[in-house]
Symmetry: C2
Subunit: 435 residues, 2 copies
Amino acid sequence: METNYKKIFLDKIVKKKLVIGVIGLGYVGLPLAILLSKKGFKTYGFDTDKNKIKSIYSKKSYIERIKNSDINFLLKNGSFFFDFKHISLCDVIIICVPTPLYKGKPDLSYIRKTIISISKYLRFGQAIILESTSYPGTTEEEIVSKLKQKFTIGKNFFVGFSSERINPGENENKLKTIPKVVSGLSQNCLSIIYKFYDTFFNKVVRAKSIKIAEFSKLLENIYRAVNIGFINEMKFIADKMNTDIYEIIKIANTKPYGFVRFNPGPGVGGHCIPIDPNYLYWKAKKLGISANFIKLSAETNIKVINFIKLKILRTLKTLNIDKTKAKILILGLSYKKNIDDLRESASLKLIKLLKDNNINKIEFSDPHIKKNIQTRDYNIKLKNTKLTTKNLLSFDIVVIMTDHDKFDYKKIYKHSKHVIDCRGRFKTDHKVSRG
Amino acid sequence: METNYKKIFLDKIVKKKLVIGVIGLGYVGLPLAILLSKKGFKTYGFDTDKNKIKSIYSKKSYIERIKNSDINFLLKNGSFFFDFKHISLCDVIIICVPTPLYKGKPDLSYIRKTIISISKYLRFGQAIILESTSYPGTTEEEIVSKLKQKFTIGKNFFVGFSSERINPGENENKLKTIPKVVSGLSQNCLSIIYKFYDTFFNKVVRAKSIKIAEFSKLLENIYRAVNIGFINEMKFIADKMNTDIYEIIKIANTKPYGFVRFNPGPGVGGHCIPIDPNYLYWKAKKLGISANFIKLSAETNIKVINFIKLKILRTLKTLNIDKTKAKILILGLSYKKNIDDLRESASLKLIKLLKDNNINKIEFSDPHIKKNIQTRDYNIKLKNTKLTTKNLLSFDIVVIMTDHDKFDYKKIYKHSKHVIDCRGRFKTDHKVSRG
């Protein structure tokens, strides 16, 4: 009799005998591994970054919002590796590797390398689920196509896609409360993957196809990218009309239907908004369609940095200060408030732009940034200034880029000579202008 | 002693002695006049369209959702005129005239003609409130600037702007439940206008300036225009990827934060979405800023008509039907469901485009359209077909343009040869495709 791999898989879930492998222990994989592990399933973690594996074994979290106690818990139920030998022990393999851009185009190298690295450890009865965000078609093109010669997918192997909906700083520790979208290549794939996530999440939503699930994740992010781009453009217009965009938004927001508030800001950061939309843009272009809203949003959101630069230059001129001597303090480096995440940070872009403009006396203050500023793109040596009265007074302009709740805004207002507020924290007046 | 016009005005409100004049008795003015009148205030209505005045005096409503009984009520407490003599009797004058486009640019002629016509009847102690949607600055440029030689605004005359938030087919009869935005040229203007609307509306919101109030109304509408344009573009992309945009939206919509559902459609109609954004576009352009999101939304929303045309042509080709002989039935003519409003209707644009493409055998069915189709732009002689089994069967393609609830969808599905569904009413299958 033929082995019923679906039944075996489902039985293992019920008996909590299922072994889980999570590949990629970053912003997505680490909180996911913790959730799975807490339910009592053996959870293996894989990451080619040895520092992450070391950090886990020394019970130290490398993500600000993930507690050391959770890392400790992970170790009780699982093991962590920087090679892929133990993939063969896993019944389900969840891929949460980065999908960045390279020269503005999707860079699927992490997914591809992962598939190559694990392929010799794959066996009948396993399921692979992609959680990395990518364009519609990725799971089929990059995973299914590579495995279908070795396996009969839907019978002795299972493949699907499930989107991650992590909102950094907000829901890492309550993942299970966010409805989880799942999809599978075949009906069997779908039902296995559904049952799997249903064990951990309060609500699981079945998409009709993998492509629909992949597209839905991008739609969620592009909706935000477009609306942030749009409101930033409205900021430019309001500014030109000498009105305050925040006052306009406040009034529009009293409409009880048909309006949703988005706030303008200094640009977009993180992964979801600056990166993901480009994946759909690229794929659509290959099909002969120009995704104009995506393009325009990206262009507009990047324009804001220049808008802020001009505000700074204009303010210096008004204050009669030579820009080469001007002292500028940047408040907030991370891309959004209350987190330490520097990915695609607008503050870093602004610092670079100011330096290109011969404004070199720049310091920053960010209570969430503990170590040196070093990302894939930036290596900036700047001082993390303490917000004392004396320090504040020593700057010509203080620019609020990220409005961390930990900042003492009363103090900032009182002791700053001039504030350029890109987050609408203050009302505008003689010493506060919008950025 | 100087006359205290503010006090007189406020006293009249308390004593219900205030006389109200509403200029423009269309989609905005008529329901507003009814609301004011129902509170027991003497309400005069003005409109240069004699047919409207006649219709009111014959107790007949000319707007589908406004009941004859409400028109009857209007007559108890007020009088209606097509000239402006009686403006001198009014303490408050609310202007609700059209602000259309002329060759793509704001056409303020209705506001200008109104101001010219009423100016000789203006007197100390009156208040003028603009409710017509227009670009930021309109109230000051078109009203304040014309009156400030004759009056000291804020002392012996009052001017302000209050946005209308009517959602045709939804809230004409519950206007007072929608927060009402008010603004005034000076503090006195604002407090008078606030008190006035506060008598009729549950919640009144004060904007800091007239410009902010004017801008906020446009922001509300542009937000919708942009999101409809965006989701229509996503429809084009999903279609090219052979996926169903409605399935994608359904899945994305399970995200409990950060996503708001907009539905693609056959284009946009009415006043708010196709017209209003152009007002800001035009004003921004004058200030040297290109409002790219507005432009892109308009372009994309108009592209949909062509997308539907191509769908029809492709379907005819697949069905092997000569387009000059093809019989097409358009379901729904009004710009949105359950109303009779033909302003900027996408269906009318489609009919014109099909005729330009030598598809002439077109009929329509719309339970809300009673009379001949005649708008500012179209004069189309078409039959309003009854949706019988026999009739449905006689068409090669049935196109769902406006999904009125009155349609019998089961019947439509059962008896149509092929349906192009632009509203997501049906799932796609062998006889239903997306438009």
